[in-house]
């Protein structure tokens, strides 16, 4: 390539890259920007691109209990509920996923690979088809409209993947390390906790992140199981704006920003761990 065509090549490349970056970022940026706009800026045609001043009124309104537009939903309560569900189920999933992951990676028992395969396939059967029977099951157990019920449900949904991520990473840790610890008189559990787990920490973080993101974002099962205002989660709160046929997108923008924020933080600070699970769980060519 000569000098001119090389310049053209890089210019073209950068342009395509810019287009992709815009395509990925613009929708979320635009909604974020709306949260700082005033009613008149949002209702004018064309909509003002930049807000005159960064007003925080929409956020204040969401957090003030007298606000009518938030449908009297108590956002601090919603945020607390979502954190409770996501954190509690993450702890459960990592704990039981580690137990099972160790068994699948290290112990020999009849039906091992079949059971692991079955667990993974079960995760593919998700979506709307299970909404009705799950609703009936939770009602029968008396777990409808309760945060504990959702914690149990999300943990059950998240466990197979967490187990698999942890099991695959344990398989890569050399057995000799544990064996030498056991030679020195450590029990199996001691060697697991003292020797193996510290080495498997990245996988535990990956599993925890994936599960937290899924539990925080879940909408379908939360929407059928939660009825009262003090059990609702942030996704339900945000979705409730659908029914408000208004042009008051500053509230939608503010609520969406609150819902997206923890996920974005995990995504940007945990990038390394995030992609670990992703490509491991994807296809191998």
């Amino acid at each position: 390539m000569n000098e001119t065509s090389r310049t053209w090549y890089w210019t073209g490349l950068s342009l395509i890259g810019l287009v992709i970056a815009l395509y990925v970022l613009f929708p979320i940026f635009w909604l974020f920007l709306a949260s700082f706009k005033t009613q008149s800026e949002l209702a004018s045609l064309p909509v003002a691109f930049w807000p005159e001043s960064l007003t925080l009124d929409a956020y204040k309104a969401l957090f003030s209990p007298t606000h009518q537009k938030g449908q009297l939903l108590d956002w601090p309560q919603l945020i607390g509920n979502s954190f409770f569900i996501a954190i509690t189920s993450t702890i459960l999933v990592v704990f039981f996923g580690t137990l099972a992951g160790y068994a699948f990676a290290r112990l020999n028992f009849p039906g091992r690979d079949l059971i692991l395969g079955g667990l993974l396939i079960s995760r593919m059967f998700q979506g709307a088809a299970l909404l009705l029977p799950t609703y009936r099951l939770m009602n029968a157990l008396g777990l409808q409209d309760s945060l504990i019920g959702l914690v149990l449900l999300y943990s059950a949904f998240g466990l197979p993947f967490a187990t698999w991520i942890i099991a695959s990473s344990l398989r890569e840790i050399p057995r000799e390390l544990e064996e030498s610890a056991m030679m020195d008189g450590a029990s199996r559990l001691q060697s697991m906790v003292m020797v193996v787990l510290p080495l498997a920490t990245p996988a535990l973080i990956t599993a925890a992140m994936w599960h937290f993101v899924g539990a925080w974002s879940e909408f379908a099962f939360a929407s059928i199981l939660l009825e009262s205002n003090d059990t609702k989660t942030v996704t339900i709160g945000l979705a409730s704006f659908v029914e408000l046929f208004t042009l008051e997108f500053q509230f939608v923008g503010a609520a969406a920003t609150i819902v997206a924020l923890p996920i974005m933080l995990i995504f940007f600070f945990g990038q390394r761990y995030f992609t670990r699970g992703l490509l491991a769980g994807a296809v191998k060519g």
Binding site: G17, A128, A260
Partner: protein, 293 residues
């Protein structure tokens, strides 16, 4: 060794029990419910195909199936083709593409509800930025009602679906393209193959397996997707964007037609099962040591 075996079963018990209780149990339960006559939540007798008859006779049924076909087939093809294009671009070695590889996953991790709201706002009939841009650049004379037009709404959903699901497809294909042996590309270049020919005859055959697998996985994801279409359109306007998932939700929790809802759920599960079966068949060699989300 006997001890080890007991210990192992004890350790996997919670996972197995959870999946049996909350996935396998409900699946079986919806199957039996679909064969039961249900009136307003009261079961009135098992062993009837009445629910499936009622489903097929539902005037909306054909429309739902048509929309679901657009959603799954159209959505999968769009995700894979856009994903292949973007993945090919991301496979180029440069600082910029490395940064983009990290950034591009953002739509994939954002909550469905946030995605739905962001696009509702952009596609809004009066104040949506997309419509306004089209009008101000003179491409259209009057604002288009993207979500209100029965002929457009399904395709708009596919556009949003691509934004959400394409990034992972692109990354998987990018990884596959980067693992194509350099010697083969070099040999093709020596033989005078153009860039397109190298892509067509060297890259594509090398990534054929990934391409097939990612297509089937996308189908599984899209079949299971519910929150995005539900929040964006709720199946409207006038059922124009009603797909299986939204129809099941509406029949279950708005109309309380549990018979029809469970029959549709079974149809949906059978569809999922056949796609999963296809995936297992493709992966039959590596299945023993492989898994997927």
């Amino acid at each position: 060794m006997q001890n080890d075996r007991l210990l192992a079963y004890f350790m996997i018990l919670p996972v197995v029990a959870a999946v049996l209780a909350f996935v396998v149990g409900p699946t079986y339960n919806v199957g039996t419910l679909s064969l039961t006559q249900v009136v307003m939540g009261q079961e009135r007798g098992f062993g009837t195909l009445g629910n499936f008859r009622a489903l097929i006779n539902d005037p909306v049924f054909l429309l739902v199936m048509k929309n679901t076909a657009i959603w799954i087939v159209g959505g999968t093809l769009a995700c894979v083709s856009v994903g292949l294009a973007v993945g090919t671009f991301l496979a180029i070695d440069s600082k910029m593409t490395t940064g983009l590889r990290a950034l591009i996953l953002l739509p994939w991790v954002l909550p469905d509800v946030v995605t739905a709201m962001a696009w509702k706002w952009m596609l809004h009939g009066q104040v949506g930025i997309i419509g306004q841009t089209l009008t101000s650049t003179g491409l259209t004379d009057e604002p288009i009602s993207f979500m209100g037009d029965p002929d457009l709404v399904m395709w708009m959903l596919v556009v949003v679906l691509v934004w959400r699901k394409m990034p992972l497809v692109a990354l998987i294909l990018c990884a596959a393209i980067r693992s194509v042996p350099d010697e083969q590309l070099e040999a093709a270049r020596m033989d005078g193959a153009t860039a397109f020919e190298r892509f067509r005859f060297v890259v594509i055959p090398n990534i054929a397996f990934s391409l097939t697998a990612v297509t089937v996985i996308s189908m599984i994801w899209i079949t299971a997707e519910f929150a995005l279409p539900w929040i964006m359109t709720g199946g409207g306007p006038a059922n124009a964007s009603q797909i299986m998932a939204t129809y099941i939700y509406q029949q279950s929790f708005e109309f309380f037609n549990w018979g029809v809802a469970s029959a549709m759920s079974v149809v949906n599960l059978v569809m999922l099962a056949s796609i999963v079966g296809l995936y297992l068949y493709i992966n039959r060699r590596s299945w023993a040591s492989e898994g997927t989300r």
